[in-house]
Symmetry: C2
Subunit: 579 residues, 2 copies
Amino acid sequence: MIETIHSPADIKGFDTAQLNALAAEIRRGLMNRLSRRGGHFGPNFGIVEATIALHYVFDSPKDKIVFDVSHQCYTHKILTGRAAAFFDDAHFGDVSGYTNPEESPHDFFNVGHTSTSVSLACGLAKSRDLKGESCNVIAVIGDGSLSGGEALEGLDYAAELGSNLIIVVNDNDMSIAENHGGLYRNLRELRESGGKAPCNLFRAMGLDYRFVADGNDPAALIEAFAAVKDTDRPTVVHIVTQKGKGYAPAETERESWHWHSPFDPETGQSPAQGGENYSALTCGFLLRKMKADRRVIAMAAAVPVNIGFTPEKRREAGAQFIDVGIAEEHAVAMASGIARGGGKPVFATHSSFFQRTYDQISQDLCINSSPATLLVNTASVFGMNDITHLGIFDIAMMSNIPNLVYLAPTNCEEYFAMLDWSIEQDRHPVAVRIPCGDVVHTDRPVDTDYSELNRYQVTQQGAGTAILALGNFFGIGEALARLIEEKTGTAPTLINPRYITGLDEPLLEQLKSGHSAVITLEDGILDGGFGEKIARYYGAAEMKVYNYGLKKEFLDRYAAEDVLRANHLTPEQIFSDIF
Amino acid sequence: MIETIHSPADIKGFDTAQLNALAAEIRRGLMNRLSRRGGHFGPNFGIVEATIALHYVFDSPKDKIVFDVSHQCYTHKILTGRAAAFFDDAHFGDVSGYTNPEESPHDFFNVGHTSTSVSLACGLAKSRDLKGESCNVIAVIGDGSLSGGEALEGLDYAAELGSNLIIVVNDNDMSIAENHGGLYRNLRELRESGGKAPCNLFRAMGLDYRFVADGNDPAALIEAFAAVKDTDRPTVVHIVTQKGKGYAPAETERESWHWHSPFDPETGQSPAQGGENYSALTCGFLLRKMKADRRVIAMAAAVPVNIGFTPEKRREAGAQFIDVGIAEEHAVAMASGIARGGGKPVFATHSSFFQRTYDQISQDLCINSSPATLLVNTASVFGMNDITHLGIFDIAMMSNIPNLVYLAPTNCEEYFAMLDWSIEQDRHPVAVRIPCGDVVHTDRPVDTDYSELNRYQVTQQGAGTAILALGNFFGIGEALARLIEEKTGTAPTLINPRYITGLDEPLLEQLKSGHSAVITLEDGILDGGFGEKIARYYGAAEMKVYNYGLKKEFLDRYAAEDVLRANHLTPEQIFSDIF
């Protein structure tokens, strides 16, 4: 059947039996890709029927469907000419895991962060109205994304549009983990009352509202979508779906099947992950701190497992762990409040999700010098590699905010020493980059006190050249130091800067004697980063400064080694550039 | 009466007559300060009684009151030992216009941006609970602030606290301008139904709810606050107040009296502002563009007048002007959607308010290369000078985001040429720094096409030294160039970089011949800024690089000339530093 579908027009005449058969066939394609490549399992399995119904009723791409996060867009891709990427292993690489205008005219935005669809769709609708055109604009947003400030701002504004906008709320009663926030009580009331509860978040936001009890029933969905098609008012269609629908392990273990690595479809099992990892180590460390001090509190924003807080560990932490849901702005402001009140908050999320909360880091946290700790995860070229989830911008974004102490550990022992110091001190907002990649241990002495700010650590005193190798790139610095010594006979000085947010001016001054060149290495873009501050410091001095890091660009689905080479970041490349 | 009030304890025994007399006396103090110094008139006049009632019922600072924005905290300051700053002109300088923990133990945070109070208060409440203490935590938030994502995230999360938190919603049916968003229809329903409408935004967020019809009646307020004191659940008290209460001009012209410059209390008139200003010029320019092209749309987020869109001009623009309310995240994402749909959006707000939307600039706008225009206002050391409203961080924040073209005009003609180019091009997201200060005109030729990116303009070809003077600091560059020529006999090269976001490498390469030093000047912090990129470029070259700009720090209530001197930014200081 899939071979006969080249565009959404090809499903328009289908009867219910055909639609159901199509759904089953699509799930086979999803299973084929997801079991071999991994990806967002639960969201895609849950929304098969709703996507079919959308394409049955609306005329994409004239009618414009904007998927929130767009991690649930696989069925949409299958129905819009990209089925091979799901059914034919050789074509897996043809598509990204998100909507992508470069792939298809049916995709309008490259997205991957949550809570953006309503605002983006409002923009499409406004343009349509200004140009005097007519079409349907549809935002598809999951219940988990509703707690994000951008989504709530968008829902609130949508009522002002006064023209066609259809917001499909795909309610599977789950965020990535369980939902958090008072609005989810209202969604439950709406589900339990068949949409009839008089208190209704969407109506309170000024929107029309319609309810579909079984969002996995194509006929019911088609009826509801047809009823709102060409509406002249912003309207919510609240559909209740089953996350992971059609695969028993995903229907029951919804959190672990939200995103899943490759697995055996028969058993649902993935190959065992051996060895240590920073997530589990971080969770263990924080639980020990919590038990010793009731004021210590770990905070997540919808991705608790990224610092090891599985459901079991969350229960163990009790009231000392909170997941605020998708609400990073709230998380940072609340962390500032907790710290101001004498608590010891540690808020962790991914590097690219911290982008949501620049203003709160600056205003709520740093102006107030609240001693909260931010743990910045997957902050590395070795982190996530989708264009929307890059971990290479946080140094430029965060390190230029006054009062913040941003630390870059080079190994496991240093990481936990920094984290421990941060939790126990009460003077500074502190961010720590969680090391990325395999867990690296050290025999080098590690300081336990970081309160004298901006003191870099000289790990090898040499001459001629000084290497300042920050955080995750310290290993490159070590290898480069060995190479320089081997090739030139003179060992360079090797320095672990530790502090991203300030210069060790006495040390930089000392380096002027006996050194003619400084090489900086950082795991992030060069623009606005650490190395440029060193270049500024030596701007008028005789010292030559070579900054190594990444080009300012949006990378997508890359292999880290390719990016390192493209940026001349191998020790051999650096050596041959300079010597 | 005021002389007898040293702390909130001194008003506890007051009867209704005394409370009313106190309110009248406080308004005299407010009028004294506001008419002479200017400030947030409407918010402070409207909340006198509610603040008195809060301090009558609760025991500050054991009970903790967190004011949103805190531009309405003047009565709170008067009642907590800081009355002199309102009644005695000699003491005006003792207090800031916002809450400030350095002034008083009754103030918990230094705030100034909207929509933060609920999250900050959640943090104080959580700390209280972790430590096993008991007190009331009260957030006071205006209706205008409710549309902000951070506030909506906070309201949604608050229901999860499960302990004491009192959220006073001060509803005066106004934002800075009129409110925008669907939730304001719900607030109206609640006002009109005496709080009894079954559809209730706050209940939909999982919160308890109580309504006070006359929020300027001390007795009604005291009754309501006493009823929720020591509650064990997050509870909203929705009070309806009159913005500008007690001063007829402010009660009727609520938008222009939200913030007001010094005025004559008898007439309500301020001294006339003579001459041109960039706000009115920007509005006029955009209106002309709109009339020529229906796709052009101006967007504001609650501060329309900052680009000259007075109520009259908004009516003139019709559907081509939108104010999204306090919702900067939505504004940028919607602008991206409008641009994707073929519209030509121009979104303007203050430099420090763009901080709210770092992620949307990066993800929604720049990853998608949507050709929207951002106008960054008061982006300068000459801009607003409160710690929470500084315009010196936007270069560091925005210029390191890939794909964004960030332009710094040096005068009026260049500004409008850049803006015009940005609106008409369809390839790049573009931000333009609105020049700050007096309108500067030029006879120099101004380019109309900026599509060949990163081409700096040499305005004077000289030798020895090259000055790269960015945007608002071009005038300093010109003065420095004259001084160097005068003192050394050799005219330096003077360059207007125009593009903040990229290097003119061919030009920088050329400068190596005939120049031994480059001086950069930028109106913003040095860290993460423009000059450091020049320093990096010349890191290994013979060129000396001197970066001039501002130190990375939170300034507060400063005189620009002091800050310039402290950062060695006068031409004389720079000359004596280098020559």
